[in-house]
């Protein structure tokens, strides 16, 4: 490019400055602004959430209470308590339970769809999985509330059905289609030459998957799991409606819990702007932002590492 431009300059051929040239420059500038908009938004999300919560989190919040105490009593007088341990445990237990379901099911389906299913069957399965991923989270919460709840009470003979089990299953069903899609992409990215080489040596399809495809797609699969964890971690409406929403350090899957996201969603409406409670909710927001940011960053590094190695 540079050499060409120099040559043109020597020969006296310059860009003609006409309307098309001007429009080209304007378009380039506008499009560049659009291009960096995602960066601007991520930074402003952090700034605006931090603006309301960071000062409180750094100076007024008792950190050992926040991370060590299960007592979340933001409105108690005279001394409100902001212990987020139970909320973190709630989020962790529901997400963990969801992953117990979603990881085997999504990896299994991804392998089946990508390696075993062929032709129409594969197309239909992919479409079904894509449609499952589209069901809104408030509908999932509603399903947990009205279908899973009585089912759990009946099957396990427990008094309350809005539990870790309920929210975990709902969240697992929600996260699995997305994880399946990402895992399938990772499997598809393994070059066919690898498979053909193994088959030429007489390996059965399962041997090819077990010893060739899975090891080379390992990082992409881990990224899929990570993104699933991130999704479960940040899920709000479904967890709010299906988990029972009780502040509780859980000891069994039949305990009700309350998640970090659900706490913000349910309490934000009751707080006065600028109050300690309000700032504490934004502090939870900062925590959520930082954790999901880290998870996404890790997943990105894993996927990029995979691409880098192949190039």
């Amino acid at each position: 490019m540079g050499a060409l431009r120099e040559e043109s300059a020597q020969r006296g051929i310059e860009d003609r400055i006409d309307a098309a040239w001007v429009w080209d420059r304007i378009a380039k500038a506008v499009i560049f602004i659009g291009g960096i908009s995602a960066i601007v938004f991520v930074i402003s999300i952090f700034i605006f959430v931090a603006k309301e919560g960071l000062g409180f989190a750094l100076f007024d919040l008792d950190k050992s209470q926040f991370f060590g105490s299960p007592a979340w009593r933001p409105t108690s007088e005279p001394e409100p308590q902001f212990g987020a341990l139970a909320l973190m445990a709630g989020t962790a237990s529901v997400t963990g339970f969801a992953m117990l379901i979603a990881v085997p099911f999504s990896l299994g389906s991804a392998i089946y769809i990508s390696e075993f299913a062929t032709g129409r069957k594969r197309e239909y399965l992919k479409i079904l999985v894509e449609l499952l991923a589209a069901i809104p989270s408030v509908v999932w919460g509603f399903i947990g509330l009205t279908i899973m709840n009585p089912l759990i009470i009946q099957v396990f003979n427990v008094p309350v059905g809005l539990t870790i089990l309920n929210a975990g299953v709902i969240l697992g069903l929600m996260a699995a289609p997305i994880m399946t899609t990402i895992a399938e992409d990772a499997l598809k990215a393994v070059p066919d030459g690898y498979r053909e080489a193994a088959e030429a040596m007489g390996a059965t399809r399962w041997q090819v998957i077990r010893w060739v495809v899975l090891p080379s797609a390992k990082k992409g699969l881990v990224a899929a799991i990570l993104l699933g964890v991130g999704r479960g971690f940040g899920e709000t409406m479904a967890v709010l409606m299906a988990s029972g929403h009780a502040i509780n350090l859980p000891t069994s899957p039949f305990d009700s819990v309350r998640a970090l996201t659900a706490t913000i969603a349910s309490e934000l409406g009751e707080t006065a702007r600028g109050s300690e409670h309000y700032k504490a909710l934004f502090t939870l927001g900062i925590l959520l932002f930082l954790v999901t940011f880290t998870i996404n960053l890790l997943a990105d590094i894993l996927v990029r590492g995979r691409k880098g190695k192949k190039a």
């Binding site: 080209d24 659009g34 938004f41 989270s137 991130g230 940040g234 913000i264 969603a265």
Partner: protein
Amino acid sequence: MSVKQHQITSFEAQPLDLKNRRNERLVRFFLGWVTMLLILPVLLILGVLIYKGSPALSWAFFTEMPRDGMTAGGILPALIGTLWLVGVALTAAVPLGIAAAIYLSEYAPDNMLTRIINLAIINLAGVPSIVHALFGLGAFVIFLKPLTGGTCILAASLTLAIMTLPVVIVSTRESLQAVPRQFREACWSLGATRWQTIRKVVLPNSISGILTGVIIQVSMTVGETAPIMYTGAVTYVAFLPESFTDETMALSLHLYNLAFVMQDVPESLPFGVALALVGVVLTLNSASIAFRMHLRGKKKW
């Protein structure tokens, strides 16, 4: 496959071959069931939604205002409100998303800035919806209050727009990159500027791919609840929204209120809303998929 060939060339299948083949069949059967088990419960759930929700659906359900403290009547204001939210969100997100995609596909060099943009897009998609809600509250409701006047359709829609921006960017970028490079080179060689090439050659050839992405974005916007709860959507307003500075009801929030917040709502009502919501979302997504498959069959290159 290899085993078959052994038989044809009159090699005997060894015990090891038989064992391997048995293993493969077992795994295939097992994984097939895993896939079924992933899909079946959801189909069952959809069945229950249709069974319990369809009695509530009627013409009046979609065209009447709620009555008796929202325990009876229709969902008209929620439906209109959702249309408003989606409309305003699209107006904001689609041009911006397309610009970002054009930058990444047509202009961006392979450098640090591009890496950071891509990382930002992934993060924007990964930030929890309730954090988007906090951002919307802080930025559009409080900080930009002179512009928006507090909680209103505009604030809620902008929050939704930012949240769904990655969907438009990613799908648009994909369809732009699917346009063969030769198309651009042919255009450049005729002396067209970069922008002329994009406008006259690249965009027309990828417009249908962009549309499928927009449809997916609409479906996502329809279903989101948390981001609009504190930015513009409210439990009940007696009027239909008239401008984007009004507060509004929304389908998704309506379902949340009927099912979770309010007491003594007859069961068929939330089931009806849930069915309507799922119906809209799945129809949009099916349309997008059908559109995409139609395109794949029609592609000229």
